[in-house]
C-alpha cells in the first residue's frame, strides 16, 4: 500500500477513526470524572458522534474505496451511518436520566455505546467478508456487555449470558461459511467472489457456504429460527440499550445482509427463496407470540422480530426499490421504535418499572400529551396512515408487487393485521382503562425533547415522505 493510498484510506474511514479515538479518550477521562457527572459524559459522547457525523457528510461527495477493497465509503454506507448516528444520539439523550435512576455511573456505558457505533459503521462500509466480521464482532461484543450492564440484576446477567452463548455460535457459523467461500473462490472480497466462480453458481459447496453465511447474519437481526436470544436479551437489558439494540445493530445487520445477499454470486444461488421463507416465518412468529405478552419490553421484542420480518420482505424483493424500501423502513423504524422505548424509559421513575402493560392503564387521563405521543408511535408501528410506519410498509409492498411477489405481499399485510392487534391493545389500556395509581413520569427537558423529535419524525415522514424516499433511492448501491 502506497502512502497516498493509505492516506486516502484513512480519509475514507475518518468518521470511524474519530469515534474510536473519542471512545478511547472518554475511557481515560471517565476515570478522572467523579460520580454524578453524567452530564459531562453524555455531552462529550454526543459531541463525538456529531463530529463523526459532520466528517461523514463532508466526505459524502464521492465514493471512496479504501484498504485495498476491504472498506468502502459510498452513499449506501452514509445513509446507514446517518441512521446509526441518529440512533446513538437519541439513545445517549434517553440515557441521561435513566442512568441516574438505575445507578449507572460508570463512563464505560458511554464508551461501549460509542464502540458499538464504530462497529456498526464498519459493518455498513465493509466490502469484504472479513471486515464484515470485524465490524460485527466489535458491535456484538459491546452489546453483550451493555446487555449485562445492570450487574446487580439477575435478569440482566441471564440475558447477557444467553446472548453471548448464542451470539458466539452464530458468529462461528458465519465464519465457517466465510472459510468455505474462501476455499472455493480464493477470495473473501464481495466483488471478487462472483468473478472467481466460473462454474455453476449452484455448486453444492457454495450453497452450503451461502446457507451458513445467511444463518450467521439473520441471527443478528433476530430472524426466525435464530430469534431465541432476542426476547430475553431485550427484556433483561437496560431499556435504553434495548432501544439502541432494536434499532442500531439491527440496521447494521440489514446493511450487511443487503450487501451480501444481493451480491451477484449469492443472488445467483436463489438465496431469495430462503430469505422469503425466513421473512414469512419471522413475521408470523413475531406477530403471533407478541399477542400473548404482558411485559411491555418483551412485547416490543417480539414486535421488533415482526418488523425485521417485514423488512426482510424488502430484501426478498431486491432491486433498487427493494433495497431502498429496506433502508427507508429502517430509518422510519428508528424514529418510531426509539420513540416508543423513550416513553417506556420515561415512565421508569421511583419504584415504577413501567414494564408491565397493565401498569399503563388510564395513562391518558393523567398525561394526555404523553398518551397521545404513545398513540402516535403505536399506530405508526401498526402501520396505520398517515404515520410514517404506513409509508414504510407501503413502499416494501410496492417493491414486492413490482417484482411479482403478490402472494408474499398478501401474506405480509395479513400478518401485519395480526400485529396491529397488540399495538391497539396497548392503546386500549392507555385510553380505555381507569388509572390505578398516580403516574410520575420522568419528564426531564432532555426526554421531552427526544420524544418530541421522534414524534415529529414519525408524523413528518408520514406526511411528507417524498424527500426521504428520494434520499433512500439515491443511496442504493450500484443504482
Amino acid at each position: 500500500m502506497t502512502a497516498a493510498a493509505l492516506f486516502q484510506s484513512i480519509l475514507a474511514s475518518l468518521p470511524e477513526i474519530v469515534v474510536v479515538t473519542g471512545a478511547c479518550i472518554l475511557l481515560i477521562l471517565g476515570q478522572l470524572v467523579r460520580k454524578g457527572q453524567g452530564d459531562f459524559l453524555v455531552s462529550a459522547s454526543v459531541a463525538v458522534v456529531l463530529v463523526a457525523a459532520a466528517m461523514t457528510f463532508m466526505l459524502a461527495g464521492e465514493v471512496r474505496p479504501a484498504y485495498t477493497g476491504m472498506f468502502i465509503a459510498d452513499r449506501f454506507s452514509i445513509f446507514f451511518k446517518a441512521v446509526f448516528y441518529l440512533a446513538t444520539v437519541l439513545t445517549l439523550l434517553l440515557s441521561r436520566k435513566y442512568a441516574d435512576i438505575e445507578g449507572i455511573g460508570n463512563s464505560e456505558y458511554y464508551v461501549l455505546l460509542l464502540l458499538a457505533l464504530s462497529g456498526m459503521m464498519i459493518m455498513a462500509s465493509a466490502s469484504d467478508l472479513l471486515s464484515i466480521y470485524v465490524g460485527l464482532e466489535l458491535t456484538v461484543l459491546c452489546t453483550y456487555v451493555l446487555t449485562g450492564f445492570l450487574r446487580t440484576q439477575r435478569r440482566s446477567n441471564e440475558a447477557a449470558l444467553k446472548y453471548v452463548i448464542l451470539g458466539s455460535v452464530s458468529t462461528g457459523i458465519f465464519l465457517y461459511g466465510v472459510s468455505l467461500v474462501y476455499g472455493l473462490t480464493g477470495t473473501t472480497q464481495l466483488d471478487g467472489m462472483a468473478a472467481a466462480v466460473t462454474g455453476d453458481p449452484r455448486d453444492p459447496g457454495l450453497l452450503l457456504a451461502v446457507v451458513f453465511i445467511v444463518a450467521g447474519l439473520v441471527f443478528k437481526v433476530g430472524a426466525v429460527p435464530f430469534h431465541m436470544w432476542l426476547p430475553d436479551a431485550y427484556e433483561g437489558a437496560p431499556t435504553t440499550i434495548t432501544a439502541f439494540m432494536s434499532v442500531g445493530p439491527k440496521a447494521a445487520g440489514f446493511a450487511v445482509i443487503l450487501r451480501v445477499f444481493l451480491n451477484p454470486l449469492v443472488a445467483a444461488s436463489n438465496v431469495w427463496i430462503i430469505v422469503a421463507v425466513i421473512a414469512v416465518a419471522t413475521m408470523a412468529l413475531g406477530s403471533f407470540v407478541a399477542l400473548v405478552q404482558d411485559n411491555f419490553k418483551r412485547l416490543l421484542a417480539y414486535s421488533s422480530i415482526a418488523h425485521a420480518g417485514f423488512a426482510l420482505f424488502g430484501v426478498v424483493a431486491g432491486g433498487t426499490d427493494g433495497i431502498a424500501s429496506v433502508m427507508l423502513y429502517l430509518l422510519i423504524y428508528s424514529f418510531m421504535n426509539i420513540g416508543i422505548f423513550g416513553t417506556v424509559i420515561m415512565m421508569r421513575n421511583d419504584d415504577f418499572s413501567g414494564e408491565v402493560i397493565e401498569d399503563y392503564a388510564g395513562l391518558a387521563k393523567q398525561h394526555p400529551g404523553l398518551a397521545l405521543v404513545m398513540l402516535l408511535f403505536l399506530f405508526s408501528l401498526a402501520g396505520i396512515p398517515p404515520t410514517a410506519g404506513f409509508f414504510a410498509k407501503f413502499y416494501v409492498l410496492v417493491a414486492l408487487v413490482e417484482r411479482g411477489f403478490v402472494m408474499l405481499a398478501v401474506i405480509a399485510v395479513l400478518l401485519s393485521v395480526v400485529a396491529a392487534y397488540f399495538y391497539i391493545r396497548i392503546a386500549m389500556v392507555i385510553y380505555m382503562r381507569e388509572p390505578k395509581r398516580a403516574f410520575t413520569p420522568a419528564l426531564t427537558p432532555l426526554l421531552r425533547a427526544t420524544l418530541a423529535f421522534t414524534a415529529a419524525g414519525t408524523i413528518g415522514i408520514g406526511l411528507f415522505p417524498a424527500w426521504f424516499l428520494r434520499l433512500a433511492q439515491h443511496s442504493v448501491f450500484g443504482g
Binding site: A409, V417, M428
Partner: protein
C-alpha cells in the same frame, strides 16, 4: 384557479380541532366545535351552489405533487356522485356535535377533537382523486373511530372497538395490495381518473374485483362480513353511531361506484349475479334479524344492513335507474338512519334504557319527539312522500329489470322493514302510557330541535321534490353507465 375550496372543506375541521387543543372550558370547546362544523357545512353549501350539474367532469379540482418518485399526488375534486356525500358528511358533522352536547360529559375536548378529525378524513375520502390519498384517508379513519367507540362507548365498548378496527383493517389491507397491483398494471399512476380510463385484461380485473370487494363489503357491510356492525353501533356513543350509519357505511358503496364499476367493468358485470344474490340476502336476512331485536339501537343497526342491501342491489343491477336509486338511497339512508340513531340517543339520555319492552305511550309524554320519530320511521320504511320512497322505487325498478327473483326478495325486504319499524313505533310511542310512570321524560329542547329540523326538512324535500338532488347525480351516473357499458362492448 381561485380558492382551493375542497382543501378548505376537508381541512377546516382539522384547523378547528387544533384550536380546540388550546381551550379549557367544556362549553367553549362545544361551541367552537359547533362553529367549525357549521362553517364547514356553509362551505359545502357554497360548493354545491356553484356546482355545475351539466357535466360529469370533476369540479373544483386541485392537484399538487406529493411523492413524485411513485407518481403520488395530492389531488382533490368532486363530481355529481361525491358532491352529495360531501354535503351529507358536513351536515351530519354538525348534527353529531349537537347530539354529543350533553351526552358526552367527560373528556369533552378529546371527543370533539376525534370527531372533527374524523370528519376531515371522511370528507377527504369523498374528495380524493388519487388512490393513495384515498387510501390514506380511508385507513386513517380507523384511529379516531377506534377511540370514539372505545373511549366513549357503552359497556362492551372495548370489544366492539377491537372488532371494528380489526375487521376494517383486514378488509382494507387486501384493498391496498389491489391498489398496488393496479398501479403496476396501469403505467404506474395512482390518478383515479387515469385509472378509470384504463382497459385491464379480464383476469386482472377479476382478482382486483375480489380484493376491492373484501374492503368495500366489510364497510357496507354485506352479509357474511357484517357482524362488526351491530356491536359497533350498539356500543358507540350517539355521534359515533350517526357517523357509522350516516357516512362510514356509504364509503363501501362509494368504493364500488368509484373504483369497481368504472375501473373493473367486465369483472363487475361478470360477478354482478353474485353481488345481487348477496344484496338480496342482506336485505332479507338483515330484515329478519331486525324483526327479532328488542334493543332499539340493534334494531336500527340491523335495518341498516337491510337498507344497505338495497344500495348494493341498485349498484349491481347495472342499469341507470338502479344506479341513480342506489346513490339517492345512500344519501337517504344517511339522513334517515342518522336521524333514527339521533333519536335513540336522545331517548337513551332520558331513560338510560334501549330495550323496546321498557317503553310505551311515549306519544303522551313527549308528543313532539314522537311525531318526529314517526316521520323518520315512515321515511325508513319508504312511505310515499318521504325521501326513501323515491330511492327505493328506483332501486326496485332497476332490480326487477336486472333479475326477477332478486327484485322479489327486495320487495319482501321492504315488507319486513314495514313490519319491524311499525312494530317498534307501536310499542314505543303508542299504547298505554307506561313510560310516564317509569321515567321522567321531557320533550325535545331547542338544541335537539336544531339537530332534528334539517334532517326532517331533507326527508320531506327529497320525498316531495327530489329533482334538484337527482339533478346533481344524473350526469355523473349516466357517465358511469357509459364507462361501464362502453368498455364492456368495446371488447
Amino acid at each position: 384557479m381561485g380558492l382551493p375550496l375542497l382543501s378548505l372543506i376537508v381541512f377546516a375541521p382539522t384547523a378547528g380541532a387544533a384550536v380546540l387543543m388550546f381551550l379549557r372550558s367544556d362549553n367553549a370547546i362545544r361551541w367552537t366545535a359547533l362553529a367549525t362544523t357549521v362553517l364547514d357545512l356553509a362551505l359545502c353549501i357554497a360548493m354545491l351552489a356553484s356546482f355545475d350539474t351539466t357535466t360529469h367532469v370533476t369540479q373544483f379540482t386541485e392537484r399538487h405533487s406529493w411523492v413524485p418518485a411513485l407518481g403520488i399526488s395530492y389531488a382533490l375534486g368532486v363530481d355529481g356522485i361525491s358532491a352529495l356525500f360531501v354535503f351529507l358528511t358536513a351536515l351530519l358533522g354538525s348534527v353529531c356535535v349537537l347530539a354529543s352536547w350533553a351526552a358526552i360529559n367527560r373528556k369533552v375536548k378529546e371527543f370533539m377533537v376525534s370527531l372533527l378529525v374524523m370528519q376531515a378524513l371522511m370528507l377527504g375520502v369523498f374528495c380524493a382523486l388519487d388512490l393513495f390519498l384515498f387510501y390514506v384517508f380511508w385507513e386513517a379513519m380507523l384511529i379516531p373511530m377506534y377511540l370514539i367507540i372505545g373511549v366513549w362507548g357503552g359497556e362492551g365498548r372495548v370489544y366492539a372497538a377491537f372488532k371494528f378496527f380489526l375487521y376494517t383493517l383486514a378488509g382494507s389491507v387486501l384493498f391496498l395490495i389491489g391498489v398496488i397491483v393496479l398501479y403496476f398494471n396501469s403505467g404506474r399512476t395512482f390518478d383515479i381518473l387515469a385509472l378509470t380510463a384504463q382497459n385491464l385484461p379480464f383476469p386482472i380485473q377479476s382478482w382486483l374485483f375480489f380484493a376491492f370487494l373484501v374492503a368495500f363489503a366489510v364497510k357496507v357491510p354485506m352479509v357474511p362480513v357484517h357482524t362488526w356492525l351491530p356491536d359497533a353501533h350498539v356500543q358507540a356513543p350517539t355521534a359515533g353511531s350517526i357517523i357509522l350509519a350516516g357516512v362510514l357505511l356509504k364509503m363501501g358503496a362509494y368504493g364500488f361506484l368509484r373504483f369497481s364499476l368504472p375501473m373493473l367493468p367486465e369483472a363487475s358485470a361478470y360477478y354482478s349475479p353474485l353481488m345481487l344474490a348477496l344484496s338480496a340476502l342482506a336485505i332479507v336476512y338483515g330484515g329478519l334479524l331486525a324483526l327479532a331485536q328488542d334493543d332499539l339501537k340493534k334494531l336500527v343497526a340491523y335495518s341498516s344492513i337491510s337498507h344497505m342491501g338495497f344500495v348494493t342491489l341498485g349498484i349491481f343491477a347495472l342499469n341507470l335507474r338502479g344506479l341513480e336509486g342506489a346513490i339517492l338511497q345512500m344519501f337517504n339512508h344517511g339522513v334517515t338512519t342518522g336521524a333514527l340513531f339521533l333519536f335513540v340517543g336522545l331517548i337513551y339520555e332520558r331513560t338510560h334504557t334501549r330495550s323496546i319492552a321498557d317503553y310505551g305511550g311515549l306519544m303522551k309524554a313527549a308528543p313532539v319527539f314522537s311525531a318526529f320519530l314517526a316521520l323518520f320511521t315512515l321515511s325508513s320504511m319508504a312511505l310515499p312522500g318521504t325521501n326513501s320512497f323515491v330511492g327505493e322505487l328506483l332501486v326496485l325498478s332497476g332490480g326487477f329489470a336486472a333479475n326477477l327473483a332478486v327484485g322479489a326478495a327486495a320487495v319482501l325486504g321492504a315488507l319486513l322493514s314495514a313490519a319491524y319499524l311499525l312494530g317498534m313505533y307501536g310499542k314505543v310511542a303508542l299504547g298505554p302510557a307506561s313510560v310516564g310512570a317509569l321515567f321522567k321524560i321531557r320533550d325535545v329542547n331547542a338544541r335537539e330541535m336544531v339537530a332534528i329540523l334539517p334532517l326532517a326538512l331533507l326527508v320531506l324535500w327529497l320525498g316531495l321534490y327530489p329533482k334538484p338532488f337527482l339533478g346533481i347525480i344524473d350526469t355523473s351516473a349516466k357517465h358511469l353507465m357509459v364507462q361501464m357499458h362502453g368498455k364492456e362492448s368495446g371488447q
